[in-house]
C-alpha cells in the first residue's frame, strides 16, 4: 500500500459513532450496564430487605399491579422465580409463551408487546431467543422491560443473583458493595462462553466491583475477542490453571440449541473441561462451584461436584427470587429519592 496515502489517512476525521441515547424507561433492566455500582448495591440491599420482610406486608408493595411474563424460550428457574417474586410483592402476573399464543400465528414482538400493554400490563419480563429483543420491546412499548435473557446477549438478573451468591460466601455480612468490594477475587467462567448470555452479563458486572474474570474454554466456544469485552477479563485455556487461581468457578452448559452446525468432540471436551471431584480437590479445594442451570450431569460437571459441599447451584436458584423481587419492584416503584437504582 502507498505509504503516503496511509499517513494522510491517519489524519482524516470520520463520522462519529452515535452515543447510545436509548430512551430507557428508568425502571427497565435490559443490561447489567443499566445499573451503576450504587445501583447494584441498592438492588442487593433491597433484595435482602424484601427476602426478610413479612410476607403479608410485602405483598402490598405491588398489590394488583399487572406484570406480563413474555417467554419465547422454555425456562424453569427464571420463569418461576420471576413469577414467585412478582407474586410475593402482590402483583398479578400472566404468562404468555410463544408456543401457546398468537406468536405461533406470526404476531410480531412489537405487536405482542403493544397487545400486552393494551391489556393493562405495566411491565413486561421478556425471555427471547434473539439478542437485542428486549431493546426492541422497550422501544415499541415504552414500558419498563426486564430482560430475562435475550439470545446470546445478556441475562442481567442471573448476574445479580450470581453476585449475591459470591458475596454471601466470599464477603459474608457485607452491607454495601463498591468498586473495590471484590478486589482480590478471581472468578473463572468455564465452557460455552460464546453462546452464553450468563457469561456476558457476569463479564460486564463483576469487573466493575473489582473482581478478575478468567474465561476458560476451547477456541470454538471462547473466541479471543471475548477478552476485549471489558477491563479485568483474561483468557486461560488450561482448565486446571484457571480454577487454580479462582475463588469462584462458574460452570456453563454447552448450548446444543445454539451450536448452529458447530461440531464438537464431546469426549474431548469432557476430558479437558469437565469439573470432576478429583480436579476440584487438586486445584480449587476451597472455591465455590456455581452453575446457572440447567446442569447436564456428567457433561460439564459430575454429579458428585454438583451435589457436593462446594456447590452453590441451588443457593443460586434461591437467590434468584430475592434478586428478582428487588428488580421487579424497581421496575414499577421509583424509590424515595424519586430515582431508581
Amino acid at each position: 500500500m502507498n505509504p503516503t496515502a496511509t499517513s494522510v489517512r491517519r489524519k482524516l476525521s470520520t463520522p462519529p459513532v452515535p452515543t447510545s441515547s436509548f430512551p430507557y424507561h428508568p425502571g427497565s433492566l435490559l443490561s447489567v450496564l443499566d445499573l451503576s455500582v450504587e445501583g447494584v448495591s441498592r438492588v442487593l440491599a433491597r433484595s435482602t430487605e424484601l427476602e426478610l420482610a413479612d410476607p403479608l406486608i410485602r405483598d402490598r408493595i405491588l398489590a394488583k399491579r399487572r406484570i406480563a411474563l413474555l417467554f419465547y424460550e422454555s425456562s424453569t428457574r427464571t420463569r418461576t422465580s420471576f413469577e414467585l417474586a412478582a407474586k410475593s410483592l402482590g402483583a398479578d402476573t400472566t404468562l404468555v409463551s410463544s408456543l401457546s399464543s398468537s406468536i405461533e400465528k406470526g404476531e410480531s414482538l412489537k405487536d405482542t408487546g403493544l397487545t400486552l400493554r393494551a391489556l393493562g400490563a405495566e411491565a413486561i419480563i421478556l425471555r427471547h431467543n434473539s439478542s437485542g429483543a428486549a431493546w426492541l420491546l422497550e422501544e415499541s412499548t415504552r414500558l419498563p422491560v426486564i430482560n430475562a435473557g435475550d439470545g446470546m446477549h445478556e441475562h442481567p438478573t442471573q448476574a445479580l443473583l450470581d453476585l449475591r451468591t459470591i458475596l454471601a460466601h466470599l464477603r459474608p455480612g457485607i452491607r454495601e458493595v463498591g468498586a473495590e468490594t471484590l478486589a482480590g477475587v478471581t472468578v473463572a467462567i468455564v465452557g460455552d462462553i460464546l453462546h452464553s448470555r450468563v457469561a456476558r452479563s457476569n463479564m460486564l458486572l463483576l469487573p466493575g466491583l473489582g473482581a478478575q474474570v478468567v474465561l476458560c474454554g476451547p477456541k470454538e466456544l471462547l473466541p479471543e475477542q471475548a477478552a476485549k469485552s471489558s477491563a479485568g477479563i483474561a483468557i486461560e485455556r488450561d482448565f486446571d490453571k484457571a480454577i487454580g487461581q479462582s475463588q469462584a468457578i462458574m460452570m456453563l452448559r454447552i448450548q446444543a440449541e445454539r451450536l448452529s452446525g458447530l461440531q464438537l468432540d464431546l469426549d474431548q471436551y469432557k476430558a479437558a473441561y469437565q469439573l470432576t471431584g478429583q480436579r476440584l480437590a487438586a486445584h480449587a479445594p476451597a472455591a465455590i462451584v456455581m452453575h446457572p442451570g440447567p446442569i447436564i450431569r456428567g457433561m460439564e460437571i459430575t454429579a458428585g461436584v454438583a451435589d457436593g459441599v462446594q456447590s452453590t447451584i441451588l443457593e443460586q436458584v434461591t437467590n434468584g427470587v430475592a434478586i428478582r423481587m428487588a428488580v421487579v419492584e424497581r421496575a414499577l416503584v421509583a424509590d424515595e429519592q424519586g430515582g431508581r437504582a
Binding site: P18, S131, G151, S229, G261
Partner: protein, 433 residues
C-alpha cells in the same frame, strides 16, 4: 421534444475534461451544444434553467440498486425507486435481479424497461447469472443482453461453485457483459447478522468473518487469472473489507479486468454504528471494522475503486421493526449518495470535485459500457444533474421519495443540494427550495 438550455452554470464533465462556466443546450434527448456563457447558437426556442452559482455535471449513475419490481412492490416500485434516484441526482440506475421472480429472462428484463413502469430515469436491468439465481445453470446471456441487460449477477446469492463461476465468466465475456459478484462465502456466514468481531461478541450476534468476502474475491480473481485469454470482466460488488480490496489491487497490477465498487455506508460507518441493534445499520456485506472502513477511504482516494454504488435496498417499515437477527439486510441510498460523497469525500477528505463526480458517473458508465452516458459531450444523452455544491442540508428519511425509509443517515448533514435532475432531456426532479 422540447429544447432545454441550462444557462450560467459551471460544467464539470470529467470524461470530457471540462471544468468551467458553460451553457448547454439539450435537444431530442441529447446534448446538442455546449458553449461559453451567452454563446449558445441555437438557444432561441429553448426553455431555460438558470443555473447561476450551480454546478452541472453528467447525471449520476448507480450501478447497484434494488427496485424490487417485479414482485415486491410493497417495498419499492420502479416508479418510486427511480423518483428517489432523480431526487438524488441519478439519471441511470442498474437494477439487481433478486426480484420475485428472479430476473433471469428476457421477458422480465423487457418488462422492467417498459414505459408502463413509470420510471423517472433510465433503468438498466442486470440479469441473473444463473436460472433462478440458484447457482447451477447459466441464463442466456446473449438474449438477455439484446433485451437490455447490462451485466449478470446472482447478487445476494453468490456463485460458490468454481465450475459454475468459471462458465459464467467465460459466457459473459463472450456476450460482452461483466459478471458482478456479491462476494460472500455463505458457508462461513450461516445465521450471522453483522461483522464478526468484538462488537458482535458483545452484542451476542453471530458474525460474518471478513474472510467470507475476501476468500471469494480471491477465488474469483484466481478464476479470472486462469481465464485470462477469454478477457473475462469481474466486478466486485459493494466491497467492504481491506483484504478484498488488496486482492483487487493486486489483480489490477497483474493486468486483469477486475473492477470494484464501494457503497457510502462502507466508507463512512463501522460495526460500532450497529449501536443497540439498530436494524438500519444491518446490511450485507455488514458494516465492518474501522480498519476496513479506512481501507475503503484509502482505496477511493488513491483510485483503486472504480465506482461509488449505493446498494439501495428498500424494505417496508414493518420489516425492519423486528429483532435484529430477523430483520432483512439493506438500507436505502439513492437520495443520500451525492450529499455524503460531497460532505465527506470532497469537503472532509479533499477528493477533487471532478473525481467525486467521476466515481458517480463517468467511471460507472464505462464499467458497464453504457454508451453515451456519464459524459455531457455533444451527442451524449441529455442526462444532467444541476446542484449547489456548497449548500448544506439535513436529510430527513420521512421526506424520502422512496417507499422505504430504512436509512442510517436520517438527520445527517449533507452537502450539495440537487436543484434539477434532467433525464434524456426531461426535467424529472426539481427541488422545491
Amino acid at each position: 421534444m422540447t429544447i432545454l438550455a441550462i444557462l450560467n452554470g459551471h460544467l464539470i464533465d470529467p470524461a470530457a475534461g471540462v471544468d468551467g462556466p458553460k451553457d448547454i443546450l439539450l435537444k431530442d434527448g441529447r446534448v446538442a451544444e455546449i458553449a461559453s456563457p451567452g454563446k449558445l447558437k441555437s438557444a432561441a426556442d429553448a426553455q431555460s434553467l438558470d443555473a447561476k452559482g450551480l454546478t452541472l455535471a453528467p447525471g449520476l449513475i448507480d450501478i447497484h440498486v434494488h427496485l424490487r419490481e417485479p414482485g415486491q412492490g410493497y417495498k419499492e416500485t420502479i416508479a418510486t425507486g427511480t423518483a428517489a434516484a432523480a431526487a438524488g441526482g441519478f439519471t441511470a440506475v442498474a437494477a439487481m435481479p433478486n426480484t420475485t421472480p428472479v430476473n433471469d429472462s428476457t421477458e422480465i428484463t423487457r418488462w422492467m424497461q417498459q414505459p408502463e413502469r413509470g420510471a423517472k430515469v433510465r433503468v438498466f436491468p442486470i440479469a441473473a447469472a444463473t436460472r433462478g439465481s440458484k447457482g447451477e445453470v447459466l441464463s442466456d446471456y446473449a438474449a438477455l443482453k439484446s433485451a437490455g441487460a447490462v451485466a449478470v449477477t446472482d447478487d445476494g446469492r453468490p456463485i460458490l461453485k468454481d465450475n459454475v463461476m468459471r462458465e459464467t465468466l467465460v459466457a459473459a465475456a463472450r456476450a460482452g457483459l461483466a459478471v458482478i459478484q456479491h462476494a460472500e462465502d455463505t458457508r462461513l456466514t450461516q445465521g450471522a447478522s453483522m461483522n464478526l468481531g468484538p462488537v458482535s461478541f458483545k452484542l451476542g450476534l453471530r458474525g460474518m468473518p471478513p474472510e467470507a468476502e475476501s476468500a471469494l474475491v480471491e477465488r474469483d480473481i484466481r478464476l479470472v487469472t486462469e481465464l485470462r485469454d477469454s478477457h473475462a470482466h469481474l466486478h466486485v460488488a459493494h466491497t467492504s473489507t481491506a483484504a478484498a480490496l488488496a486482492a483487487v489491487r493486486q489483480a489490477r497490477r497483474n493486468g486483469l479486468r477486475v473492477t470494484c465498487e464501494v457503497a457510502p455506508h462502507h466508507f463512512l460507518l463501522t460495526e460500532e454504528h450497529v449501536g443497540l441493534y439498530n436494524t438500519h445499520a444491518k446490511m450485507n456485506p455488514p458494516l465492518r471494522s474501522a480498519e476496513d472502513r479506512d481501507a475503503m477511504i484509502d482505496a477511493i482516494l488513491d483510485g483503486v475503486v472504480d465506482a461509488i454504488a449505493t446498494d439501495h435496498a428498500p424494505h417496508a417499515t414493518h420489516e425492519k421493526e423486528v429483532e435484529f437477527e430477523l430483520a432483512p439486510n439493506g438500507i436505502t441510498g439513492l437520495e443520500t449518495a451525492l450529499g455524503l460523497c460531497m460532505r465527506w469525500l470532497h469537503k472532509e477528505w479533499k477528493l477533487p470535485l471532478g473525481r467525486v463526480l467521476s466515481l458517480l458517473s463517468a467511471q460507472p458508465a464505462a464499467l458497464l459500457n453504457l454508451k453515451g452516458r456519464g459524459t455531457l459531450a455533444v451527442g451524449s444523452y441529455a442526462d444532467v444533474v444541476v446542484f449547489d455544491p456548497k449548500a448544506e442540508w439535513t436529510y430527513r428519511a420521512t421526506e424520502s421519495l422512496s417507499k422505504a425509509k430504512n436509512t442510517p443517515f436520517d438527520g445527517w448533514t449533507m452537502q450539495g443540494k440537487v436543484r434539477w435532475t434532467v433525464s434524456e432531456g426531461r426535467v424529472v426532479y426539481t427541488n422545491p427550495a
